[in-house]
Symmetry: C2
Subunit: 314 residues, 2 copies
Amino acid sequence: MTARPDQTEAGARAPYATPDDLRQALVDAGVLHLTAVDGVHHRSWDWERVLRGVEAHVMAKRVATNAPRRWFPPVMPREEFLRTDYVRSFPDLVGSIDVFTGGDREHRALLEVLDEGGDWTAHLTPAEVMLPSSVCHPLYGTLPHDVPAEGLDEECSGWSFRHEPSLDPARMQVFRMYEFVRIGTPEQALAHRDEWLERGLSALAELGLPVRAEAANDPFFGRVGTMLAVNQLDAQLKYEMCVDLTEVRPTAIASSNYHEDHFGQTFGLHLADGAPAHSACVGFGLDRVTLALFAVHGMQPDDWPGEVRSALSL
Amino acid sequence: MTARPDQTEAGARAPYATPDDLRQALVDAGVLHLTAVDGVHHRSWDWERVLRGVEAHVMAKRVATNAPRRWFPPVMPREEFLRTDYVRSFPDLVGSIDVFTGGDREHRALLEVLDEGGDWTAHLTPAEVMLPSSVCHPLYGTLPHDVPAEGLDEECSGWSFRHEPSLDPARMQVFRMYEFVRIGTPEQALAHRDEWLERGLSALAELGLPVRAEAANDPFFGRVGTMLAVNQLDAQLKYEMCVDLTEVRPTAIASSNYHEDHFGQTFGLHLADGAPAHSACVGFGLDRVTLALFAVHGMQPDDWPGEVRSALSL
C-alpha cells in the first residue's frame, strides 16, 4: 500500500527535520501566514487554488455518481451537535458559541465589565449553533430514518473546529475536509471503508504523495478515553492515510472510518428489519493534503511535476 | 448607475413576491438546504461552483495587481476582535467561542450538568478565538504600522458570522465575502471607495444583475446606535450595491465603505506625518451575489445566459 514519491529535481523536500522547520518554510515562502493564535492561519492564493484542486481531484473519484453533495457552513445546530458523543468523548476539542440577546440596559452592564477588563462573556448566552468538530456530523440529522436496501451514499465538505492550539502546521484549529459517507448494513459500511481506503491511497499517490495506511484511533479524552481508544484500535475501526512530512511524526492526511451503529443509534437511522443502520466515512483532509503537497513538492506550485499540476488542474 | 437585466426567455425570475417565495424556490430546486436553525444553510454543488465563479470574476477586476491576497479561516484571534468596536456597536451580532480546559474531574462535573439538562456551557471558558463579524477585521492587526506614501492595497476573503437568525435567504448567519482594502491618506481611501463603487457596479452588471447604488448605514445597536447610523448615512460613508430580489426590500450584494481613520486609530496605522491612516474597503458578498444570480437567472445554472456562464467560467 506504500507508494514512493518522485524524488527528482522537481523539488521534493519532505521529510523536514521538525514541524518548526516545515512551518518556517511555509511562512518564508508566503504560503501560510501565522496569526496571534497558534493553529490559526491565513492562507495564500497558492494554498487556496491548490486546495480547490485537491477537492476537485477527490470529488472526481466518486463511484456513487448520484450521491447528494453538500457544502456545510462553519457552524451547525447546537441540538444536533449535542446528539453526538462529542462533549462526552472529546470535550477538550469542542467550540461552543455564545451570543448577546439583551437590550440597551444589559448592553451597558456588559460594556462596564468589558471596560474594567472583566469577563464580559458572562453576559452572553449559548447560541443555537456550535462549531462542528467533524465535517459529517451535520449530515446525519438530515437523512431519512428508513435506510433503503441498497444503502445511502452521501458526500459533504466543510470546516471543522478542534481546539488544540499547536505550532505544528498540520494541526490547525480550523480546517476543511471532503467526506464520502455510506449508511447501510454492516457489510455495506465495511465495504465502503475498505474500498475507499484503497481508492484514497491511489488518489493521493496520483498527487505524488508517498502515502501509506496505518490503523489509528481518535483522540478520546481522559482516563475512560484511553480505553475507548484502545478498543477502537483493537477493532480496527479506523485507518489513516499517512505521509512523513517531518522526521518527528507521521501526518494523517485522510482517514477511513467504520462507525458500527453509532450514528444509526444516535440519529434513529434504521434498516428494513428495524435494526440500527451502520455507517462508514472516508474523510480527505483538504488542508492537510494541501500541506503535504507543499512539503513534498516544494513551495512553488508552478514548479511541481507536470502530472501533479495536471491532476490538480493548476 | 442602474443596469437592467436581460429579461429574456433565459429564465429571469426576480423579483419574487416575498423572501419566503425565494427561499422555497431554492429549496425545491435543491440549490440550498435548510437546517434546524434559521439562517444556517447547507449549500449544493451548484451553489458552490457558482460562488467560486463569482469570486474569480471579482478577483479578475483587481487593479493593484501586486496586492497581497489572503484567505481567512472562520475564526480570528479574540484579542484582535476586541480591538475593533464590534462588542460596543454591534453586540447582538457577535459570536464568542467557549472551550473546555479542565481535566477528568471537571469533565465529570460538566457531564453531570449536561445529563441533567442544565447549562453545561457554564463549565467552559472563553477561547483565544472568536467568530469574525467582518471579513477584513483580521487584516488590520497584521499590517505594518508605517503606511507607505503610495498607500497599502490588500485583498482578503473569508467567512463572517452575524447572529441574526432569519428566514430570508439573503440573511445568512454565516457567509463569505471578498474584500478589496486600501489604507492611506483620506484622498487615497475615498478614491478607493468611489472607484470601486463604479467598478463593482459594472462587474455585477456583467453578470446580468440589475444592480444600483444606494447610500446606506451599518446596523448599529440600541439607542446610541440609531444616532451613529444617522451620522454614517449623513456623511455618506457607506454605499451598497443593491438588487431587488423580492418585492419586499432591496438586497445589498456588495458595499463600498470609507472608514475615515477608525481602523488607523484602532490598530496604530499611521502616515509619514504621524497622523492615523484612513481606510476604505469594498466587499462583495459572495453568498449574496450567488443568491442574486439564482434569483435573477433561475435555479438551473446550465440554462443561464451564455455571457453570464462565460463570466463565471461555468
